[in-house]
């Protein structure tokens, strides 16, 4: 039915705006708390070395055509040598990153802290929204939707005849959850604009997975064909000089 429900402006004043304000404030609070709680990571020498090895291998890939073929081959051998090459990780040593994660107490603590700092405010806010702001129509979405969204967006509203565009405040909460990144980047500076979507992605991902990146670099190096670019430079230099001399 396409009749227009008239929504009380009080809903806007007392539901939509406070909800947004609260979520922004919680985000800011979470940022400061995470700053306080962040333990300075003591970098492991092995991890630093692996990071640097990866950078050097990437440089080798990028600049391969600028050095003489012999040097390139020597370096490639150095990196991908089967016995003691830098990028070569023997199969049995390739640690399962999960096992590594749990065996290292520091990392486990860090993961716990990160997860908690995300889960708790989310759960609390969600419970608060459900408790206080359920059972009424909060807003109207400007575009029409299909019936499938009814269960998701109209959770507190038990009338099945209401148009799906009229949603409850839970959907406003989700909208804010995913959308406040732009606001955070304004307030907290561009680097800290992590909102909940990214945190959720961070929850799933693991720390720096060395073995995979090393293996990837090794494969990349093995693929490269060396084509010495320097002879071309002689011709280019000629043309440059010719132009200069004229």
């Amino acid at each position: 039915m396409a009749e227009d429900l008239v929504l009380d402006t009080a809903i806007r004043d007392w539901v939509l705006i406070p909800l947004s304000v609260v979520m922004v404030l919680i985000g800011v609070l979470r940022y400061f708390v995470s700053k306080l709680m962040r333990s300075s990571p003591s970098p492991d020498a092995k991890i630093v070395k692996e990071g640097q090895v990866v950078i050097r291998a990437r440089n080798l890939k990028a600049g391969a055509n600028f050095i003489p073929p012999k040097s390139f081959r020597a370096r490639r051998f150095y990196f991908s040598n089967e016995e003691n090459g830098l990028l070569h990780v023997p199969k049995d040593q390739a640690q399962n990153p999960q096992a590594q994660m749990f065996s290292d107490p520091n990392m486990a603590m860090d993961m716990m802290k990160k997860n908690l700092s995300m889960i708790i405010p989310q759960t609390l806010t969600f419970a608060w929204v459900n408790f206080f702001f359920s059972g009424f129509v909060a807003a109207k979405i400007p575009f029409p939707l299909t019936q499938r969204f009814r269960s998701m967006l109209q959770n507190g509203i038990d009338l099945s005849t209401v148009d799906v565009s009229y949603v409850s405040s839970r959907s406003w909460y989700f909208l804010n959850l995913f959308g406040l990144r732009g606001l955070f980047s304004l307030i907290l500076g561009d680097e800290n604009a992590i909102d909940d979507t990214q945190r959720m992605m961070q929850m799933g991902g693991f720390g720096f997975d060395a073995t995979k990146s090393l293996g990837a670099e090794k494969d990349g190096l093995d693929i490269i064909q060396h084509e010495w670019a320097l002879p071309g430079f002689e011709h280019r230099a000629e043309s440059v000089l010719r132009k200069l001399v004229q």
């Binding site: 020498a45 230099a237 000089l241 010719r242």
Partner: protein, 303 residues
Amino acid sequence: MVTKTEERELKQLENQVENGGGGVWEYLSLVRKLKVRRSEIVLKHGLSILNDSGKRSALGPDEWILYEQVAIAAMDCQSLAVAQNCIKVLQKKFPESKRVGKLEALLIEAKGMWEEAEKAYSILLEDNPLDQVIHKRKVAMAKAQGKPSLAIEHLNKYLEVFMADHDAWRELAEIYVSLQMYKQAAFCYEELILSQPTLPLYHLAYADVLYTIGGLENLIAARKYYAATIDLTGGKCTRALLGICLCGSAISQLSRGRNKEDKDMAAQELESLAATALEKEYKQKSPAKLNLLSSALRSLKLS
């Protein structure tokens, strides 16, 4: 590396500050950000801010950063008393701080007391074995004491872990060249070219080293790298132009008995072009030496 805009801004601020205009704090912050070495100016103006208690309190918490910056600049200019004062102030404010500990060790090194400085750095390294700055200070100390082999040893150990640090590779290359270990220097320059292939400086240095090592293959490669430098600098690098002429004559000397390969044809044009470009440049910049240049070039071509 400092970009052109940053360099221009730096020069502009420097002029402003030197001529009595304001903007001292912006200049000091820019110097800090770009990590350039302007110790005299930093010392003079930084000290003027620190001695004036009004301006000092206007800085707020940045005052400690300024103390650190002035301390390092003072040590660079050998005003050790000034440095000592700054460090004392920092020590009072931040006792047991690793950063202040680094400054203290730096002061000991500046005074020339090598063993104590060595001990101080080892203690700092125990706490934090991955501190790049301290490793580099040890290398600098070895170099200052005139022990280049020790410096090489330290640098190699450093580079085993931090192999992507191109400043360290550059330092190692220069030390090798000073010790005439040209093959190792060539390796270092190759690393540098790999990390920054568009920088003509590294191509030029690599070409110099290759030319010095000698041998036909190296000479041919050297000429190619000189050509690369010319290409990257738009033909303005005098050294590369001369390098090409020298390489050309050396190659023709070496390959006198053998068959001339085809690539020499392209190269000969390059040589003559380089010679012409050189003469043009000398005509513009130092016409007095033009005769010298022409006779040198003629002797090269004849040989």
